[in-house]
Amino acid sequence: MITRRNFLKNTALGIAGAAVPLTALEIVDPKKLFAQVEAETTSVRWVFLVDTYKCVGCGLCVKACKLENEVPYDANVTRTWVERYVRTKKGNMYADTPKGARDGFMTAKIDQNAEGLKDISSEGIEKAFFVPKLCNQCENPPCVQVCPVGATYQAADGVVLVDRTWCIGCGYCIMGCPYGVRFFHPVYHTAEKCNFCYHRINKGLKTACVQACPFGARQVGNIKDPNDPVTQVIRTQRVGVLKSEFGTKPQVYYIGLDEEVR
């Protein structure tokens, strides 16, 4: 028997149920997703090429990057940095990157953190060189896999970006990156990383670090374009990548990489 109470209750329930459209219940449709992936492949894949023989450790790239990308200048965080490696004739390896080499290297002493500055005479050096570092824009980015909210992602052209409005600041990606390129932005308190100057490369400009480098040690290019000079070098010369054993397929290629470089 229909009572007034039941009638009102069922009506309210019915209206509430009808108010939920089917789209709200749809979570993920794998078939639809795969179709989208196949339909939207692009002809651009940004890669980077570093020639460590040419790098002199001036740090003008780091300075330009910080000013271009509004990374607080005096905070000890940076999207790109330059490392110095010095191997002595005794077989010891020393490496440092004071302030990320924002001001270059103005001493022969190697910063060994708690152990102080290590003075190495020029006669004692067996080999020594500089290695610029930046985000590898991996083909399999572990930082993206660990993001619980979809705030960091890979764009179609291979660049890994961070959505500052969506990042919750959990820091998983910072721990997940094997190359240590991520950090918290001191102002926005969200994950921050090199994005190959996404605003510049999409306007046909070089990245700020590439433009600032006086020695041509840094180059950015499109590996899907066979006529791109960077692609030519990567295809025809001997180049290496960092930590290939992680399977991340990094897309920053190095000329003159040494096994000591990690």
Binding site: Q36, E40, K63, A64, E68, M106, G150, A151, W166, H199
Partner: protein, 161 residues
Amino acid sequence: MKNHVLRPLFVVIGIIVLILLARMVLVPKDFGAHERGYMYGWHRRGNEEDWKKFKVKYQGAEYCKDCHADKYDSIKKTPHTIIQCENCHGPASDVTSDHYSDQRPKLTIDKSRAQCLRCHFPLPYPSSGRSKIKGIDPDKHNPDIECSTCHNPHNPMEGLR
């Protein structure tokens, strides 16, 4: 079945419906798996455009060329031609439209010794280009004055000032 047994079920269903409705309102329409698939491409599409709109600050030497042709041409004849104007003069986009007026705010030029020593502090590192650049000992070579007092950075090979 008794009503009091089903009641918690209705509450749970109600909560789920509320969460789904909230999700529909809060998640932007352009959120989804795009070109790189669900594992790498799950994101808000509009963010790509946000990053593309980021302000360009470093303009390159060609930007300065038209008005400062004398400086542009003179440095082109010297080994310092490889250095961008903005590496010492600062990013050009910080120049407002006032740059062309009489009281223009000038760019902050980095004339510090540290700026020159980035390259000219001698580090004899084999297999690095650094060992091929001439350097000075900053503690012995006129330690108290700016390099540009004697050397013209736009033409370092000419006679001392």
